[in-house]
Symmetry: C2
Subunit: 367 residues, 2 copies
C-alpha cells in the first residue's frame, strides 16, 4: 500500500519514503526559526524555558501565526500536509495550538524530523499500555505497603493542617499525610478542594489545553492495509490513518484519528456508516470487522486527549500548575517539563513529586 | 582564544566553530557505513545488538580497520584530527579500540556529530560527580534501612547456597542473601570468588577494555584560556585540552587529556616540568598554579579509565558479563547496554540488577 494524500481536489498515492521526506522537509522549514533547527531556542530539551527570551517570543504564537509568518515560503500542498499532520498532533485548531509546544517536541526529538515523526508514531510498548501500567502497579503492590481503591469517585479533598481528608461519593473517608493529585488539566477545576485550588491553577484548568482529537482503532480484513498510511486536508471525518499491526487472525489493525472540528463528532457506536465512509477515502475496499473507541473528550475523568497547550499557557501557568498546595502535590504529564502529554512526562512528574514527599516525610513531619 | 590544531609540522589556530565543523564532518564520514548515518545499523540505540548482522560485521573492526577501509577518502589532516580525538575518546590505540563502540556512542548521540561531541564534552553535573554520588547515598541512607562499610577491601566472596559470605582483609565477615558486585571490568578477575568467576567473565576481565587515557585538571592564571581548545597529532604528552570553567579567584580550569602511548606515563606529582611543557604547546604563556591528578590506570580498584571495548568483545562477552552467578549479581557501566562506560550506564545497569533482586526476594527465596 502507498501513502494516500487526500488534498482538496486530488488524491495522490505516494511511496512512504517520498511522503515522509516531503512532510519532513516542510516540518523542518516550519520550526526552523533560528536557522539552527531550534538548537539556540531550546538548547536543553529537558529544560525548555532555559532561553527565556525565546520563550517570551514563541510561546505567544499559535501554529496559525507561524503559518502567517511564513506566508508563501510554503507551497499550498506543503501547507495542507503540514496543517493536516499538525492538527493530528495537537488535537486542536491551528489558532488554539501553541507553536511553543511544537518547538519543545521538536527539540526533544533531537531537532530532526525523522526522530520527531518516529517519536509520534513509531515506538510503542511491546505489550501495550495496560501491561505497562500493570507492571508498575505490581511493583508497588509487591512492597506489601500499598493500600488502594479503584472506582471511587471523590466528593471532597480537605486539607486540615497536618493531614488531608478525602471523602468519596459513597461516604468513605481516607486520611493521608500527603496527597498526590494526578487529575488531568482539563478536569482539575471540577474537583472540590478545601481550601480551593489556587487562582492560576483554576484559570489554567478552566481554559484547558487544546487537544480534542479522537482515535478509533479499526480491525479490517484486508492484510495489505498493514502498510496503509494517509492524510486528508481539509480534514474530513478522519484526518490520519495508518496500519499499525496484524492481528493473530491475519486481519489488519488500523489506527484512525479524527480532528477538530469535523472529526470529533464521530460516534462509531451509534453510526458505523459515517466512520466507514470516512475510512474508505483512503482505501475504498476496506472491510471493517471491528471498531474500538473511547470518547476521551466526553469522559468526565479526562475531558480531552493528550495535552497540547494553547498559546501563552507555558509562560503563564506551567510553574503554577507544578506548585504544591499544603499537603496536596500535583503530578501529571499535563504539566511535565519535558515530554508533556506523554507517558514519559507522567513518569517524570510522578518522580518529581514522589521525591519531594519522600524527602519531606523523612525530615520528620508528623501525622 | 582559538582552537589550536597541532599537526605534524604545523600549528593551526582556528575559530571554534570552524574546528568543530571540520571535525564533525570527518567524524560523520567515518561512521557513515550505511549512507544513513548508522540509522540502519543501530536503529534502537538502547538496544544496540538489535541488528545482529551489523553487529557481526562491525564489532570485528578496530578503528584502524575503518581508517584502512576509508583509505584516501579522508584527507591527511582529517585523518590526523580524527585519530587525535578518537584516541581521547577511546583511551586506547586505533588498533585495540572497537569500531562498534564508536557506532554505539554515535547512535546514542542521535546520529549527529553536534550531539556526539556535546555528549562527550559539553554536559556536566552542576554540582559535580561527588555531590551527585552523595545525593544517591543520602537517599538510600534516609530509608533507615541501609548498612554500609567503606574502605573495606575484600579478601573473599563465598557463595554458600542460600547466602553469601564476604570476608574483608581485616577479617570481618558480612553475610548477605544477595550480593551486587560493581567492580570494574579490568579488576574483576582479581577478586577471589568461590565458586570461581565464570570462564567468559574471567577471560573478558583479563583481556580488559582498552581505555588508558589520563586526565589532569589544571588551574592556570590566564583568564583568557577559558575558551582554549586544542588537539595534537601525532599525540604528544597531552592530546586534548579545553578550558572548562573559571574558578572563584578568576583563574581558569583547564582539562587536559593524555593518551596511549605517550601520554599515559605522565606523573605530574613527580615531574611538573614535563606536563607544563606539554601544555605550553597549546598556550605558550600558560601560568600553572595547581594540578589535580589521579592515576586511574595504576589504581588497583580501577586499572583503567572509562570503558571502551576492544574489537570483538561486544559479541563475545557482553551477555556473559551481565549474567548472575548464584547469589552474586554483576552491575557496572562497563557492561551496560546503552551508555557503557558512562554514569548513565552505571545507573542503567544498577537499576537492572536492583529490579531483578527485588523481584526475586519478593518471590519468597529465604535466607
Amino acid at each position: 500500500m502507498k501513502f494516500i494524500l487526500s488534498l482538496k481536489d486530488e488524491n495522490v498515492a505516494m511511496d512512504h519514503e517520498e511522503a515522509f521526506g516531503a512532510l519532513g522537509s516542510a516540518l523542518q522549514s516550519f520550526v526552523n526559526v533560528d536557522d539552527q533547527l531550534c538548537r539556540t531556542i531550546i538548547p536543553f530539551p529537558h529544560n525548555p524555558h532555559y532561553n527565556a527570551v525565546a520563550l517570551k517570543k514563541y510561546d505567544r504564537m499559535s501554529l496559525a501565526d507561524r503559518f502567517s509568518e511564513l506566508g508563501d515560503k510554503l507551497t499550498p500542498p506543503e501547507r495542507d500536509v503540514l496543517e493536516a499532520i499538525l492538527s493530528v498532533q495537537t488535537g486542536g485548531t491551528m489558532e488554539n495550538s501553541s507553536f511553543w509546544d511544537l518547538l519543545r517536541a521538536w527539540a526533544l526529538s533531537n531537532y530532526n524530523w525523522a526522530d520527531y515523526l518516529s517519536a509520534a508514531a513509531t515506538y510503542k510498548l511491546r505489550r501495550g499500555q495496560s501491561h505497562f501500567a500493570r507492571c508498575m502497579f505490581d511493583e508497588a503492590a509487591n512492597t506489601g505497603r500499598l493500600d488502594y481503591a479503584f472506582s471511587t469517585p471523590v466528593a471532597g479533598i480537605k486539607d486540615v493542617g497536618n493531614h488531608t481528608e478525602i471523602t468519596s461519593k459513597s461516604g468513605a473517608i481516607f486520611l493521608s499525610r500527603r496527597v498526590v493529585c494526578t487529575v488531568p488539566l482539563n478536569v482539575l477545576h471540577e474537583l472540590p478542594f478545601t481550601p480551593p485550588l489556587s487562582p492560576l491553577k483554576r484559570e489554567a484548568s478552566v481554559l484547558g489545553h487544546a487537544s480534542r482529537a479522537i482515535k478509533i482503532n479499526v480491525e479490517a480484513e484486508n492484510p495489505e492495509l498493514r502498510s496503509l498510511g494517509g492524510l486528508a486536508h481539509p480534514p474530513g471525518k478522519v484526518t490520519y490513518v495508518f496500519g499499525d499491526g496484524t492481528t493473530p487472525t491475519g486481519n489488519t489493525h488500523i489506527v484512525s484519528l479524527g480532528t477538530v472540528p469535523t472529526g470529533v463528532g464521530l460516534q462509531p457506536a451509534k453510526d458505523i456508516k459515517e466512520i466507514s465512509e470516512a475510512l474508505r477515502l483512503f482505501a475504498d475496499n476496506m472491510e471493517i470487522t471491528r471498531l474500538v473507541f473511547h470518547d476521551w473528550n466526553k469522559d468526565p475523568y479526562s475531558r480531552g486527549t493528550w495535552s497540547w497547550y494553547q498559546p501563552g499557557m507555558a509562560t503563564k501557568y506551567v510553574a503554577a500548575l507544578r506548585e504544591r498546595q499544603g499537603n496536596v502535590f500535583f503530578a501529571s504529564a499535563d504539566w511535565a517539563t519535558a515530554w508533556r502529554g506523554c507517558i514519559d512526562g507522567a513518569i517524570e512528574d510522578g518522580k518529581r513529586v514522589a521525591k519531594e514527599i519522600a524527602d519531606e516525610i523523612k525530615e520528620g513531619y508528623e501525622f
